[in-house]
């Protein structure tokens, strides 16, 4: 056996024990980088939620009326609901590819805490879905005659809110990864949990339009995010262990 670094040649088998130092941060960044490379290699898939967001926004003026006054009144809510649905769209594939090719199994079998590795995957999902949606929203706000002054708040509230949406949605994705037709079920599980984020997100933009204080809404969005950051990874890890057995 051409031992590459000693342990296998001659010496009795050594039992490594204890947490290899620095393992967690290295594992976290490696998982994050791996997922980033994976998603960027299929750039068209990163575009799909954005095009979906644009199309859904286009449907409303056609469906309702192109009258700018009417559109301006409903713009904040429309933008938030459409962004929320677009983020939901790409959640299904969060763990499915890893489940199919066996790397999810390996993720479960590392000594590193699964919750934080799952957090790395969710972070990549937010970076390539939530953030682009937030940056694109002002552009679509123009098409809905969104009143001036609320564009920045729209982007900030969406960026903040979509992080919680990714975390909460990932729990649903982890629960349904083993099921073959998990897509629809995923949205049924997760949409009710999205409602608080939607209320304060759309509320923030509405407040910006009316000129009232925006900080209260954004603060609550931040609190929701903090809560999700602490609890969601644990729930994701537990759900992955459950659904790995199919």
């Amino acid at each position: 056996m051409t031992g590459t670094d000693g342990t296998l040649t001659g010496k009795a088998m050594t039992l490594t024990s204890g947490e290899p130092h620095g393992g967690l941060t290295v594992a976290f960044w490696a998982t994050l980088k791996r997922d980033l490379v994976l998603l960027l290699r299929r750039r068209s898939e990163v575009m799909n939620p954005l095009v979906f967001f644009a199309i859904v926004i286009t449907l409303f003026p056609i469906g309702i009326s192109p009258d700018p006054q009417l559109l301006a009144a409903i713009a904040p809510g429309l933008l938030w609901v459409a962004a929320l649905l677009a983020a939901l769209l790409s959640l299904d594939s969060l763990f499915r590819a890893d489940y199919d090719d066996g790397s999810l199994e390996q993720l479960l079998l590392t000594p590193q805490p699964l919750a934080l590795l799952a957090l790395a995957k969710v972070a990549v999902h937010w970076l390539l879905t939530g953030l682009p949606l937030a940056l694109m929203a002002p552009l679509l706000g123009i098409m809905l005659a969104l009143p001036a002054g609320s564009y920045a708040v729209l982007a900030v509230s969406l960026a903040l809110g979509s992080a919680s949406l990714s975390l909460i949605g990932a729990i649903g994705a982890a629960l349904t990864v083993g099921l073959s037709r998990g897509g629809v079920l995923l949205s049924l599980l997760v949409l009710p949990l999205y409602i608080p984020v939607l209320i304060f997100g759309a509320g923030a933009v509405q407040a910006a339009i009316l000129g009232d204080g925006v900080m209260a809404h954004l603060a609550i969005l931040g609190a929701l995010l903090a809560l999700a950051l602490i609890l969601a990874p644990l729930a994701i890890a537990a759900s992955l262990r459950i659904s790995i057995n199919g």
């Binding site: 670094d5 342990t7 088998m13 050594t14 039992l15 000594p111």
Partner: protein, 221 residues
């Protein structure tokens, strides 16, 4: 090796293990005692619960009866040390098709807490006969070659306990011989292998068989 090392014999025990799958017993009162220097082959017809047993022993599956011990400690307490010493290769090779073999191994090195050593990755791929294919997306490799990328982990991240689920699938004749030799060497150097395979392993001192056929150990029905 940056870890705390102490040479001691490995021991994975299971006491009256039982597992029920869609209301039929896969196996019952199954006692196992797997030690250093052994190659334990789990045999049995399709659907006799071989993979399920491996999943239970590797801690992936929770709904079973009976107790597991690692290093003479209950598995619940010794879980982290167990995972640090385990190398599990499942049915699916765990190789991402969009990544190159090198990138796949980089990730495996990282989650195994190994130093980021490029040379080790190239050596591991050379060792399993993938020289020249290191930077090709794994999706363009054959099934056998993708399996070899997974097998490269045996060299890349040396771990005492190997749990291998059908490692010979899609491997050509040369590969099978080399892998068999590698299992024997691993056992001889104090490691321990638990493997399921339909391939007839050449008998050797280290080899031991466990037969699953429904209804518990070695009753063969």
């Amino acid at each position: 090796m940056p870890f705390l090392e102490r040479a001691v014999s490995l021991r994975l025990q299971a006491r009256n293990l039982a597992c029920e799958r869609d209301d039929r017993w896969l196996f019952r009162e199954l006692d196992l005692d797997i030690r250093t220097g052994e190659i334990v082959r789990v045999e049995g017809p399709n659907g006799s619960g071989k993979t399920t047993l491996l999943k239970i022993l590797s801690g992936q599956l929770a709904d079973y009866e009976g107790d597991l011990f690692w290093d003479d400690r209950p598995m619940r307490d010794a879980r982290e040390s167990f995972l640090t010493n385990l190398l599990y290769l499942g049915h699916a090779p765990g190789v991402k098709a969009a990544l190159t073999p090198l990138e796949n191994l980089t990730w495996y090195q990282a989650i195994a807490g190994q130093p980021r050593d490029e040379a080790a990755r190239y050596a591991a791929l050379e060792d399993v006969g993938l020289a020249g294919f290191e930077d090709l997306p794994a999706g363009q490799l054959s099934a056998g070659q993708q399996r070899r990328v997974a097998l490269a982990r045996l060299v890349l991240t040396p771990r005492p306990l190997w749990v291998l689920d059908e490692p010979f699938t899609a491997i050509d004749r040369d590969g099978v011989n080399a892998l068999e030799q590698r299992l024997v060497d691993h056992a001889r150097q104090g490691g321990c292998v638990l493997v399921t395979t339909h391939h007839e392993l050449t008998p050797c001192a280290e080899l031991r068989r466990i037969r699953l056929g429904g209804g518990g150990l070695d009753d063969g029905n």
